[in-house]
């Protein structure tokens, strides 16, 4: 599924949103891919990602055994090692970076490692091109995201869309994004806490909590 392609926003809104992912191809290079995918994630973990995922689990995941004290002291630290350890099958693994420098550093090391697995960058068109150029890598193929067709006016406002579409599989509901915006506006949660709540719903680990925090702060500032 096009899990990172259709993030809502203009090119500038992706200045802190660089997703680098590796994906083996069935029958072409999936044999012995698992150690390479783990190594890919290990490299990415060294370069300050804000999230990582292995297709089944993100670095900030739901906790199925909370005790009641969690309501006052919720943990939301990313767990890189579990994401790496739980790569069990050849599939997509991804890391999200908030700065061009970190994305470039991670990509450079991935290029040098020469895994032979397809690597994609999902961001603005220019962001991806520039990260490639810094390592002397030309783009092979590009898939552009065209705007949503919504002739029946189903979609909510742009603030909710920006937050919701960061999980391209649609696991972050419009209502949850609205609820988090309301809770921050009412002073019931901080923007960081609200972003951490949203990121837990994305099982692929591609949700960008730093961008979410910025978008929430921007939306609440506008409202005031």
């Amino acid at each position: 599924m096009t899990n990172t392609l259709h993030r809502y926003g203009d090119a500038n809104s992706f200045h802190d949103d660089y997703i680098i992912f590796a994906i083996p191809s069935v029958g072409k290079n999936d044999k012995d891919a698992i150690p390479k995918l783990k190594q890919f994630l290990t490299i990415c973990a060294k370069h300050n990602p804000c999230n990582m995922g292995n297709g089944n689990r993100g670095s900030i995941a739901p906790d199925k055994g909370l005790n009641p004290t969690a309501h006052w002291n919720r943990k939301s630290a990313p767990d890189w090692q579990t994401v790496i350890d739980e790569v069990k099958k050849p599939g997509t693994v991804a890391a999200v970076f908030t700065t061009k420098a970190d994305a470039e550093a991670a990509f450079k090391e991935v290029v040098e490692s020469d895994f032979g697995i397809s690597v994609n960058i999902s961001s603005s068109v220019d962001n991806a091109r520039e990260v490639g150029k810094c390592c002397g890598v030309n783009r092979h193929s590009v898939e552009y995201a065209l705007a949503f067709n919504d002739p029946h006016d189903h979609l909510p406002n742009s603030q909710v869309l920006e937050l919701s579409t960061m999980c391209g599989h649609g696991m972050v509901s419009f209502n949850m994004a609205k609820k988090m915006l309301e809770m921050v506006r009412e002073g019931r949660r901080t923007s960081a806490q609200a972003a951490a709540t949203l990121v837990r719903f994305c099982p692929c680990g591609v949700y960008n909590p730093q961008r979410a925090k910025r978008l929430i702060e921007s939306a609440c500032k506008v409202q005031r």
Partner: protein
């Protein structure tokens, strides 16, 4: 999906969590309920919510006192306090909802090769979209709207009539009984899913025709669509073919997924199974 009525304490946290708005609290039963027609079995409530395993009777008592006192407890908004959600065994045709809506569940028994495809993410090794060709991913239902298979079929029929080529290794193509006409299995047409992607390929001179068809059909079907449109770059890593066409047609394209060309064929023996979930 099931909400265990013995465990539910009607806290309402799950209501906002559901991408389809299928969960509500029944004031007479004082329990959360699922509207099965609206539910697409995506598992967001079951998997995405953290859980405590508190005693339901105790929680209800505390909530009753708090309600009487008009106190508002401020729980974490993504927590089910009693772990009331349970995933039930599904059979076809309802199972098709889960296959297309839950990104982490595999269903090899249906014969469908996963939910997503590699698209141009592996184009450097698959050459699925070669020079002069244009690939399309026409996505239905996301974000947050959902789509009926009958509506997808309306699109696939229109596209088939225009002579496009459907990607053979795509879940929707696998559900077609006649690829030439874009006809989808009749038993699943009433089913609603969170999203699906139709993949096609054309020559560059057919871009306008395809985009117009999608827009026209979308007017008739009650959902949202999103198009990804792809091409192979030249030896300098530039796209001097598709981007100018999109600009001429008035389409913006701020975001893209860019294949950096690092893949190569390394398998010595071809494998038949894989569980790629796209990114």
């Amino acid at each position: 999906m099931i909400i265990n009525q013995h465990k539910c304490v009607a806290c309402g946290n799950c209501v906002a969590v559901c991408p389809m708005g299928a969960i509500y609290v029944d004031p007479e039963k004082n329990r959360a309920q699922i509207n099965d027609e609206a539910c697409v079995e995506c598992g967001t409530c079951y998997r995405g919510m953290s859980t405590e395993h508190l005693n339901p009777t105790m929680v209800r008592a505390v909530r009753k006192v708090a309600k009487f006192m008009r106190f508002r407890f401020e729980p974490e908004p993504d927590v089910c306090p009693t772990g009331a959600f349970e995933m039930n065994e599904l059979e076809m045709p309802r199972l098709i909802r889960q296959i297309f809506s839950d990104p982490v569940v595999e269903h090899k028994s249906t014969g469908i090769k996963g939910r997503g495809t590699e698209e141009v993410k592996t184009n450097d090794v698959s050459l699925r979209v070669d020079t002069g060709e244009v690939g399309y991913t026409i996505e239905f239902g996301r974000p947050g709207v959902g789509v009926l298979f009958s509506d997808i079929e309306e699109m696939t029929r229109a596209l088939a009539a225009s002579g496009v080529t459907f990607e053979s290794n795509n879940p929707i193509t696998h559900l077609m009984t006649d690829v030439k006409t874009g006809t989808i299995r009749a038993d699943i047409l009433p089913e609603k899913i969170l999203s699906a992607i139709v993949e096609i390929k054309t020559k560059i001179d057919e871009v306008e025709k395809v985009l117009r068809i999608v827009e026209e059909v979308n007017e008739r079907i009650d959902t949202v669509t999103a198009i990804g449109i792809s091409t192979r770059c030249d030896s300098d890593g530039e796209d001097k073919i598709l981007a100018p066409v999109l600009e001429d047609l008035g389409y913006g394209y701020a975001r893209a997924k860019t294949n950096m060309g690092l893949g190569r064929i390394t398998n010595t023996v071809e494998l038949k199974t894989n569980s790629n979930v796209g990114a």
